[in-house]
Every structure is written in structure tokens, then in C-alpha cells.
Amino acid sequence: MIELSDVHKSFGKVEVLKGITASVQKGEVVCIIGPSGSGKSTILRCINGLESYDRGEISVEGLKVDRDAPSIVDIRTQVSMVFQRFNLFPHRTALENVVEGPLYVKKESRAQALERGRTLLAQVGLAEKADAHPPQLSGGQQQRVAIARALAMQPKAILFDEPTSALDPELVGDVLGVMRKLADDGMTMVVVTHEMGFARDVADRVLFIDGGVIVEQGPAKALLNQPQHPRTQDFLRRVLHPL
């Protein structure tokens, strides 16, 4: 459903993606792991056109991703994004955040959008926070609202950009729980994460990225338990046993 073929991307003189080829099937959960600055987030941002790419091709359900083409709106309504820093709209309530896209982009009826918005907030465990503004919510709650906002677009896939990196450790579990439920329900997900436990338990496949290339990829358990490439081995050793 998402295809990347020899994707290159530079920021100025620094080439951050050096030929990424990968695909994500419908219903698949793919985790992208790797050191900071390896290009993980950039891949996600290229998939829904927040960044342009220089060479190669990215397509979503056969539609080429081109951030300057009108079709980018279609792609963005089909592939939602959840950000590291939540990026909720602070001037709107949790419920308003969730229904903003359905109401103003997809032009759904108010009654229908509000009803589904409430259902989604309940689904992420925040039914009683519908009228709260983001600054009144904890980080974990904000991120769950952001997931509900992504789901409200009824996307075919969701991209998660380090969704738990900005959270206090005790709030990580709530967010991962919601994501695990989504995966169980068959949502296609691409997750950039440092949560190796989540990757091992929930992901179908893991890509290890370093220096702008895919160093190693494979089924989650195999890659995380028996990494083949020395760089993957070294990375996992340092992440799993920092002391």
C-alpha cells in the first residue's frame, strides 16, 4: 500500500536519505528504528508530503506522493500522522481537535462528525475530556487525542513519529496500549520508535536505519533477538543495555 523506491533526500549538502526502498502492506505494522539523525522521521515526513524528496518515488495506493500536486490532499486524508510533540490545536477543545478534519476537510455533517469524534475519544479512553483544552491535558492524554484526531480522518494508514519520546515514562504505557489496540484491529501503521518492547511485541516487521540507508530489515522478533548486521547488533546492545 505504501511503496518507496530508491528515495533520496538532502537538506542542503547533507544527504539524509540515500536510496530507501521499502514497502508496507495493508494491515501491516512496521517499526523503524535507528540512531538519532539516521533519517527515520524524514522517511515518514516524505510519505505524507511534509517534506519533498529529491529522487526516487514514493506512492500510496498507487498514487505518487508529490507535495506540490493537488493530489497530496487525497494522500494526507488517507495517511494520517501522529507527531512526537502532539501538535494539537491549543485554541480548540479535545473534541474540536478531533472533528476539525472531518468537518472542514472532508465536509462531513456536524452531527455525524461529532458523534464519531466522541466515539473515538472514548476509544482512546478520554470520553470525559472532550471539552478540555490541550493545555489542561497531560502529555499522554494529548497524544491520545492526537491519535483520535488521526483516526477521525478514517485513514488507511497512520504514521507515528516517535509518539512516546516526549512523554513522561509513566504515561508511555497508555499511548502504547492505544496503539497496540489499533494494530490488533488491523490498522496499517508505520512507527518510528525507540520502544523496542513495543516493536518486538506489536510490529510485523522492523527496519533498522543508519546513515540514511536501510541496514537491516526483517520480522520483528528475528531482527530484534538475532540481529545479523554488526551495526544493528551494536545499536540494539546500546539501546537495550545502556549501562
Binding site: N48, G49, L50, V73, D74, R76, T77, S80, M81, F83, R85, N87, L88, F89, P90, H91, E100, G101, Y104, V105, K106, P135, R149, A150, M153
Partner: protein
């Protein structure tokens, strides 16, 4: 002091005619400068190079010309080009254009203060440029922009007196006319100053209210 009160009662009605025109000029040019300022600011942040450069040059040209010269130009030069404006029209147009440059810079600062993540979140749910502006950026920018906007209102109220130079009989000119025919300079100009101050005070309080509200979140 007794003389002052006597004069005040006598001149007050005439000066009030000036106050009415001062308010008309202030509100008219405030509205015009707000609309023009928004247009310049939108052009500036549109991401389209030609529009952004055009707006930047316009703002610099406007900022580089004294208000009084702009007023003279509109009132005395435009008729030579076949466009005749009444003094009041020229005053509102001139002050509105002059202040649009400051409004534009204020609006732009407010828009650019909004976190980039907000724009990305809007884009990621499929919002285009205009929808992102209308639903996400501008409502948040308003809070940032309001306190300096209030200051612009106070400055405009006072600068509306420059319309007197092209014969608009607003408060300052009415005062000057009375003073030169009665020679009661002290009474008249004290009264004029007090009347400007009286009009400014509600605006000053409004700015303070805006600042408090902006500081809250």
C-alpha cells in the same frame, strides 16, 4: 481657573464637532489599515516569492514616506492626475495606507510566532494553505497581535490630527481655528489635550486588558 471653565463651556460644543471628525478619521483609517495590513501580511507569508517581494517593497516604500507627505500627495497631487478626493477621503486613505505598513509587520510577526508543528498538523489532516490560515494560524495569532494592535489604535487617534494639514476640521484644527480667532491659546489647547487624553484612556485600558489576556496562556 475660573476663566478656563468659562472658556471650556463656550468652546466645548465647537470642539465636539472636531471630536466627531477625529473619530471618523481614526475609525476609517483603522479599518482600512487593518484590511490592507492583513493583505500585505498574507502576501508576505504566502510562500510565493513574487507576492512576498512585492509586499516587502510596498511596506518599505510606505514606511519611508512621512504621513504628512502622503496626505499632501493624495490631496494636492492626485487632482493633477485626474483623481479628486475630498479632504476627509484623502485623510482616511493616507493614514490607512501609512499605518497598513506597521499593521502588516505586526500581523506577520504574530503569524510567524505560531509553532511550525501547528501548520504541519493542519497539513497532515489535509488542510490547504487558506484553511490552515483561517482555522489554525490566524485564531492563534490574534492573541499575540492584539496588544500591539491596541497601541496602533492609540497612535492613530493621535496621528489623526495630521489630517488638519489638509483642512479636515478635526479636533486639532478646530482648536487652532478657535485659538487664532480668540487668542485664548491656553484654554483652547489645554481643552484639546484633555479631549485627546479622554479618548485615549479607554484604549489604554483596552490594551492593558489584551496584554493580561495574552499573558494568561
Amino acid at each position: 481657573m475660573k476663566g478656563f471653565w468659562h472658556d471650556a463651556v463656550e468652546f466645548f460644543p465647537i470642539l465636539m464637532n472636531g471630536v466627531a471628525l477625529t473619530i471618523v478619521v481614526t475609525i476609517g483609517s483603522l479599518l482600512l489599515s487593518t484590511v490592507l495590513g492583513l493583505v500585505w501580511a498574507m502576501m508576505r507569508v504566502s510562500g510565493i516569492k513574487a507576492l512576498s517581494m512585492l509586499s516587502a517593497s510596498l511596506i518599505n516604500v510606505i514606511r519611508g514616506i512621512p504621513i504628512i507627505v502622503l496626505l499632501f500627495y493624495l490631496y494636492f497631487v492626485m487632482p493633477d492626475l485626474g483623481v479628486t478626493l475630498s479632504a476627509l477621503q484623502a485623510a482616511i486613505l493616507g493614514l490607512g495606507i501609512a499605518y497598513s505598513a506597521y499593521q502588516a509587520e505586526n500581523f506577520r510577526a504574530g503569524i510567524e510566532a505560531i509553532d511550525k508543528g501547528q501548520i504541519e498538523a493542519a497539513q497532515s489532516i489535509g488542510m490547504g494553505w487558506w484553511l490552515t490560515m483561517r482555522r489554525v494560524v490566524l485564531p492563534q495569532a490574534v492573541r499575540i497581535v492584539l496588544p500591539p494592535y491596541g497601541n496602533v489604535m492609540i497612535m492613530m487617534l493621535k496621528d489623526s490630527s495630521q489630517a488638519s494639514t489638509i483642512t479636515v476640521a478635526e479636533l486639532a484644527l478646530q482648536g487652532k481655528l478657535i485659538a487664532s480667532s480668540t487668542f485664548k491659546n491656553t484654554s483652547v489647547f489645554t481643552l484639546v489635550a484633555l479631549m485627546y487624553l479622554t479618548m485615549s484612556i479607554p484604549l489604554i485600558l483596552l490594551v492593558r486588558h489584551f496584554e493580561k489576556r495574552a499573558g494568561k496562556r
